[in-house]
């Protein structure tokens, strides 16, 4: 498995676990009167956790293959990245359309902010999953 495929797995797992946990916690607390206040602190914590966990895991995999980690992407890896980015942009576009709808029907700022965050997270998950699929099945 190449360094960049491992890196895609790291992104998939990190985003999935950290933001899966974030949205699950938020979902459970939402009906609570403090639920919406919780989202700001929780959102900040999730972003910090994402950065820390992703950095630690990426440094760890780089230690096992330092040569690959320092090398720039070759033509196949660049193509995979571009194709995955394009698929992820569709997911993000759907999220933006949903966001416009949410604003039009008068959702509050907390809901809209979380919908925006969910769109970004889903786009990143789709990108990582697409990269892995292209690395595995061919491009």
């Amino acid at each position: 498995m190449s360094f960049r495929e491992k890196s895609a797995w790291v992104a998939l797992i990190t985003y999935g676990v950290v933001f899966g946990g974030y949205f699950f916690t938020l979902w459970q607390a939402w009906d609570d009167a403090h639920g919406q206040g919780l989202s700001i602190g929780l959102m900040f914590g999730a972003v910090v956790a994402l950065v820390v966990v992703a950095a630690v895991l990426n440094v760890t995999i780089a230690l096992f293959s330092p040569k690959e980690a320092n090398a720039s992407a070759d033509e196949r890896e660049t193509l995979i990245d571009l194709k995955a980015e394009r698929i992820s942009s569709y997911a993000l576009s759907v999220g933006v359309v949903c966001l416009i709808g949410a604003l039009l029907i008068g959702w509050n700022a907390h809901l809209v902010a979380n919908l925006l965050l969910a769109s970004l997270v889903i786009a990143e998950l789709v990108k990582a999953a697409a990269q892995i699929a292209y690395f595995r099945a061919g491009v």
Binding site: E5, E68, D74, E75, R76, E77, F135, G138, V139
Partner: protein
């Protein structure tokens, strides 16, 4: 993939050249050489020429178009 290649055979005939050695000569990762060998990736024209050069052969001796 409509492009087939003889890279595996040519590596064997060239002193069992490793995928890593070929990758370094071409300037791609070993995984990309593996993907090309397994017909999971069609290389760019530049990479295809570099692969052919690594074996000292013309392009058509390494790659061929597979009619569907």
């Amino acid at each position: 993939m409509p492009i087939e290649n003889e890279i595996r055979r040519l590596r064997f005939e060239n002193g069992e050249m490793t995928q890593q050695t070929l990758a370094e000569k071409v300037g791609v990762t070993r995984q990309t050489i593996i993907a090309i060998e397994q017909n999971k990736y069609a290389p760019s024209l530049e990479a295809a020429f570099k692969i052919a050069n690594a074996f000292g052969l013309p392009l058509e001796s390494v790659f061929r178009w597979k009619e569907s």
